[in-house]
């Protein structure tokens, strides 16, 4: 199936297969007021998805069920409810091996349950798109937003993007397929967003026209053979037991893993024009910076506004892509800063740790504020943390009420 010749033709729902660049940058946008869950549905409606496998877990159950409605309407070719997340991700693998464009969603404990599949997806070069609506991981149990689970994904060999707003989310769901399916990339991608903050709140999102959709996936534009007995070689496994053969150095196995990492690097070239860069910066000439991803960035923006009212100038770096990691972009953006604050919604402070490993003179990086398990992070808490670090004495927000 030649993708190019299909552009301009219609699918069975009357949608026109559209050139992605035209769809993303030139097509008219329709402002709509939707929850993040509904945004997922609207993006997938335009994504020419072949197979979605669903399973309930908060806070993505709504989205997963809404895709079921799309299936009933004919926008998604096949759909099923799996038995648990490990099964779901295995079903996704099977679908992708067979040459389908596959999509799924999960969160928190679901991600943990499915974990064994993710490095297998990457090693097998399966361009599955998975949405992760980040939430707490047991124990204790929390269904509320928390980004700890993202850290577990960072060495799976998947692409990992972290959306801040519903608009990011909508655009990146569609763009994710286009990057993941590039023949020189061809990796699974995790599009993360903070559960509830994005999934359950309503926001204005500019949608692309409903009668335009992504071109379909072409499994023969792939760096590995499709497992459909329609392409050579016929004698083929996607995971040859290298270690159980004679005359083979383990260099093959290591080289295979290096190739997956190399594919992540190759995705930069495709991602930067679509996302507008792997990071976004504001006022990075300032001496104080807030650097983070997801809704911690939104809270950071508010904190910056509050600090500006007090005469303090603070810049912002929003990290969009965790894998590939914007190493050079971050070093460049932080070169003037004397203090780099990293607000995060997780107990580990993993983002601060990654930044410390990236920037020269890492003592400039001040972890926090951190909240975990679903605690909110009022902008005042960020303000308080910054001011205290700078030597100002401030009464803590938490004491109001005593």
């Amino acid at each position: 199936m030649d993708s190019h010749s299909i552009i301009g033709t219609k699918n069975k729902k009357g949608q026109v297969y559209t050139d992605p660049n035209h769809l993303f940058f030139e097509a008219p946008r329709i402002p709509s007021f939707f929850t993040g869950s509904e945004v997922i549905k609207e993006a997938i409606r335009r994504a020419s998805v072949d197979l979605m496998v669903a399973y309930p877990i908060t806070p993505q159950s709504e989205a997963a069920a809404l895709i079921g409605e799309l299936y009933a309407e004919g926008y998604v070719t096949d759909y099923m409810r799996g038995e648990n997340e490990f099964g779901v991700m295995s079903e996704c693998a099977g679908g992708s091996f067979g040459g389908a464009r596959v999509f799924t969603t999960t969160a928190g404990p679901g991600t943990m349950r499915a974990m064994e599949n993710f490095p297998m997806w990457s090693g097998a070069r399966l361009p599955i798109e998975m949405i992760v609506t980040c939430r707490g991981i047991n124990s204790p149990l929390s269904i509320q937003p928390d980004t700890l689970e993202m850290y577990f994904l960072l060495e799976t060999g998947m692409l990992v993007w972290h959306a801040e707003t519903a608009q990011d989310f909508y655009d990146w769901i569609l763009m994710g397929f286009m990057v993941a399916e590039q023949p020189d990339v061809h990796l699974p991608i995790a599009i993360c967003c903070d559960g509830f903050f994005v999934t359950h709140t309503k926001d204005v999102v500019n949608l692309t026209p409903v009668d335009m959709c992504l071109p379909p996936y072409d499994p023969y534009r792939s760096p590995v053979p499709c497992m459909d007995m329609e392409c050579p070689p016929v004698r083929m496994m996607r995971d040859p037991f290298i270690m159980k053969s004679n005359y083979i150095s383990y260099a093959t196995h290591a080289s295979w893993q290096q190739e997956v990492r190399a594919a992540i690097e190759r995705s930069r070239k495709h991602t930067i024009p679509l996302l507008g860069g792997l990071i976004e910066t504001e006022n990075v000439d300032a001496e104080i910076l807030i650097v983070s991803s997801g809704t911690a960035v939104s809270q950071g923006r508010e904190a910056i506004r509050l600090l500006a009212d007090e005469g303090l100038r603070v810049g912002l770096v929003k990290i969009k892509s965790l894998r590939p990691w914007p190493y050079h972009e971050i070093r460049e953006a932080t070169k003037h800063a004397k203090h780099i604050f990293v607000p995060e919604f997780n107990v580990a402070g993993w983002m601060a740790r990654e930044l410390k490993a990236t920037v020269p003179d890492s003592d400039r990086v001040v972890a926090g504020p951190q909240v975990a398990g679903g605690m909110t992070m009022p902008p005042e808490v960020i303000v308080e943390h910054i001011q205290r670090t700078l030597g100002k004495s401030v009464a803590t927000l938490a004491a109001r009420g005593s």
Binding site: D184, P223, C231, P232, N246, Q258, E259
Partner: protein, 224 residues
């Protein structure tokens, strides 16, 4: 991506486990471009260079892969014809003393119990075929990109072979020279250049060229 210079991709033996050139910062060429030793160049320059490498080699070899060995569609059949033509041209134009070879990569599985390196090459242990036949320059065509990258890295790690990739997709950073968007026309054009340069490249010139490459600093690229 703004990288200082590029990681020089040249014949090895490079290392116990060499890094992937993409992880050292090398980017793939855009349509109309190619790369020579990691440096992005206009495609035209790469056709000349590749032809020169072929003609300067002692055992210049073409490795067709499953996508062109098997007649699974019309395009594959046409590419097979073009590749055979390139090989025949090479045989005709290579200087006296050179021994051009055509060795298939029929599939990607590890060969059991033992590969016959005179008859085939395999991405899990391509070095065996390179060493046995003393191949000093080779071109991969019709190999799935993942398996091609495995082969190119392992060859660069353990042999001194100059690798060329004639890729139908976006190209290969791990080859010493790579084309992209390979087509019947491009394969024929390479054959044209081989013919054009016949007699201008002395036998064994590749060795000197590679020795010169080895003296250059392996610049740029920070492992990210």
């Amino acid at each position: 991506m703004n990288q200082p210079g590029h990681y020089m991709v040249r014949p090895g033996p490079e290392a116990f486990l060499p890094p992937a050139a993409a992880s050292m910062g090398n980017a793939l060429p855009d349509p109309g471009q190619a790369h020579i030793n990691g440096r992005i160049v206009p495609e035209e320059e790469a056709f000349q260079e590749a032809a020169r490498m072929f003609l300067g080699g002692t055992v210049p070899t073409i490795f067709p892969g499953p996508l062109v060995l098997w007649a699974w569609n019309e395009k594959a059949k046409k590419k097979a014809t073009a590749i055979k033509f390139l090989y025949d041209t090479l045989k005709e134009c290579a200087p006296a003393g050179a021994k051009p070879m055509l060795i298939p990569m029929p599939d990607y599985r590890p060969k059991y119990p033992k590969i016959n390196p005179e008859v085939e090459i395999n991405p899990n242990h391509p070095n065996l075929t390179i060493w046995h036949n003393k191949i000093d320059v080779c071109m991969f065509v019709g190999v799935h990109c993942h398996q091609a990258n495995l082969s190119l890295k392992i060859i660069r790690g353990g042999t001194n072979c100059y690798t060329i990739a004639m890729c139908a997709q976006a190209g290969h950073e791990d080859a010493c020279l790579s084309f992209r968007d390979a087509s019947v026309e491009k394969i024929m054009y390479l054959a044209e250049w081989v013919k054009k340069l016949k007699g201008t490249v002395p036998f064994g010139a590749l060795k000197k060229h590679v020795a010169a490459l080895q003296t250059q600093d392996r610049a740029g690229g920070v492992r990210s």
